[in-house]
């Protein structure tokens, strides 16, 4: 069967990278005695695929992975087996069975939403002005790892949220397609905010209809 697991990644796990997360899930499923399918060949690989790599240091409320199992197991059963076999900073929020013939999980992601909290106080109206200015612009040429690209079309939503106590934080929805991925730290950079003074949390991944 092909099972789709939605999970959180918080706390210490923010510092576990994409490849290590793969290995972590493989071990968790072995502990839970779930019969993972493996690829054929000299170095069999577990058939686990994670929807979209989460940058190191970010927390998440909605990571998604697909795993292929050699047996059909009720999703409640999978959940209960996994329950005590995950490190404390990962929690499963949803498990569903999906059609085996669906395209690869990674190709179905279109965008991702983020919340960015600021650890140093900022001037809310100044931030709002910068956000408006950025959203008004036609294009935002940027350079990343020696490649030039336009950040502007990758930003679908960017807004400042003001709490009752005057505290402000940012909400973003960025494109997360295969060759067109908006990175929250690039947006922060464009706003003149040091990523060092923020806490970023991915709140959801949005899939193709």
């Amino acid at each position: 069967m092909r099972a789709r697991i939605t999970f959180t990644k918080q706390g210490a796990l923010r510092y576990t990278g994409h490849l290590d997360l793969h290995r972590l899930w493989e071990r968790a499923m072995r502990r839970a005695q779930l019969p993972i399918s493996y690829s054929q060949g000299f170095h069999p690989q577990p058939k686990i695929s994670i929807a979209a790599a989460l940058p190191l240091g970010f927390a998440s409320l909605g990571e998604v992975l697909d795993v292929r199992l050699n047996e059909d197991i009720p999703t409640e059963e999978i959940a209960s087996r996994l329950k005590d076999n995950l490190p404390p900073d990962i929690q499963v929020t949803k498990i569903e069975s999906v059609d085996e013939r669906e395209p690869a999980l990674q190709t179905q992601v279109v965008s991702a939403t983020y919340e960015v909290h600021l650890t140093e106080p900022v001037d809310g109206s100044e931030l709002k002005r910068k956000v408006e200015e950025l959203m008004m612009s036609e294009s935002l040429p940027r350079e990343r790892r020696g490649k030039f690209y336009d950040l502007r079309p990758l930003i679908e939503i960017l807004s400042v949220v003001t709490e009752a106590d005057g505290k402000v934080w940012l909400q973003m929805k960025l494109a997360a397609r295969d060759s067109a991925t908006g990175r929250p730290e690039e947006v922060l950079n464009a706003l003149g905010i040091e990523p060092e003074y923020t806490r970023v949390e991915r709140t959801s991944l949005i899939f193709q209809e």
Partner: protein, 642 residues
Amino acid sequence: MLTPEQIEAKLDRILLKVQKPGRYVGGELNSTIKDWDKAQTKVAFVFPDIYDIGVSNVGLKILYDQVNQRDDSLAERAYAPWTDMEALMREHEIPLYTLESKRPLACFDLIGFTLPYETLYTNTLNILDLSGIPVRSNERDETHPIIIAGGHAATNPEPMHAFIDAFAIGEGEEVIHDIIDTIQKFKSAPNFKRRDLLVALAQISGVYVPQFYETTYLEDGTVAYTEPTIPEAPKLVHKRIVAKLPPPPIKFIVPNIEVVHNRVSVEIMRGCTRGCRFCQAGMITRPVRERSVQEVVDAADEAIRSTGFEELALMSLSSSDYTYVSDLVDAISKRFEGRKLTVSLPSLRIESVSVDLMDKLKQHRSGGFTLAPEAASERMRRIINKFIPDEEIINTTRDIYSRGWTTIKLYFMIGHPSETIEDVQAIVDLCKRIIEEGRKVAGWKVKLNVGASTFVPKPQTPFQWVACDTRDNILEKQALLKRQLLKEKNIKLSWTKPEEALLEAWLSRGDRKLAEVIYSAWKNGAKFDAWEGDQKHEKWMAAFEEHGLEHTFYTYRQRRTDEVFPWEHITAALRKNFLFQDFRQSLEGQIRVDCRLNCFACGILPTFANLRRENPGEGWKCPDVKSPAPKIINIELPVVGD
């Protein structure tokens, strides 16, 4: 002192600037987080090298579990931060903290360092400093934790005497409880005095408190004697052992990042009966005690289930000597059949039976087959008491190649006592012959990885009297190996820098005077001495010079037969005369057989006669103690009024 919340907030600022930040955040499955306020005694265990190496250490895991099983105590862990992290921690004034609760080490009652090898000494000083704890014992007061250390390097604790409050000599499973009980008794008393506690610790069997001892030297700089300065401290500190191996750890920490060993390790046997004269571990971990096949297999199964690891290591100093090794391999193969699991069985004897064993474990042939002849000439192998005829080596390696392994790893040492250039030439000749014979059965693809490390004569071994081979000799011997082996297409050669062996020699063979050298070397910037690189040697040489000490005194000097060693007041229960007789026999090229066949009276039985008497039979591989237990006379007093 910073709170856990303050430390976490500071960490979030810096962690993305360091390599592998996952080393510094904890949160692993199977780590134990207990209620801080409910624990009377808090213990921090430290492996003084990076997380990647330390997290899988079994010794520390045993102690971690021992302490966490107590209702009144908790144990947490810390490792040495890599240099990038250390620099940021110092810049942001973050003290070293434990991974479980993120509390500074200085908040704990007890800090326990494991010192499995000597090149961790400078890191130990650095960690104390990074924790804001005075590096020297005599500068600590009632507000500071008690600093203890144990592990094989504690066989000669003297070079570290100025920095460690108490050493646990020998096995730690029981003594850790005695130490915690004593700390609780003293710390809960009104008017707690650190010195009173240390005096009490010095009276625990197996505990050495160096500040209550003083060394007097002869004019030539060698030790005259080391004696206690208080009547409560014993003249001779005997190592502790456990009569029966306690159940092995099951719930290994599962790191959230890749580390060096992602595996379950189950100790099948402790101690070794082979008597290889160069091997400190084989000498100081006696007597041999084995676990049952059932216990090993059940523990391995449970540990694999609780970790999800892909690799199982069956640990001992000499797997082939485990009485039921064949049954064990059968039982393991059966239990784990069809599961994706790599099983390693290290330290196999060079004989065809070993190839059969590995065959049964269905090892990935790609991993290579490891053998450790240690020396290449039969003469040399007699001297070190690891005698194997050349033909046996050739037959075994041929067998390995013919059964499908393409790579064999061979471990040798150079610089053995009385070794000549011919003995080193023999390494080249043997390797070439192994390849040649291998080609006859398996063709041109056969490969040989040759490791040639440098021998360091260690305390409490029959070779404690001998000098280290000189740097020039070692360089010449290495040059010979490189000249003849590096051009061979199918042979890979690796070696250690002679400076590394010298450092190991100073630190393991040194006396109390070395403490100042260690301190200065650390001040000069020496740390991570087990790692290659960055001009460490110069820092150490400068430290020797600063204190007017001749480093060759500790390395190139043959010790007098009547010399009093710096470690003379610490014993692994081996009689000096037993070691000396064995040394004499080595000079005559005489071998000693496995002591399961013939007891050579090493000293274990007289020291632990009572333990052996209470635990007769199979459990130990020593003869039973038949003599009656000393009588305890009870005098019955008449009861008044009866």
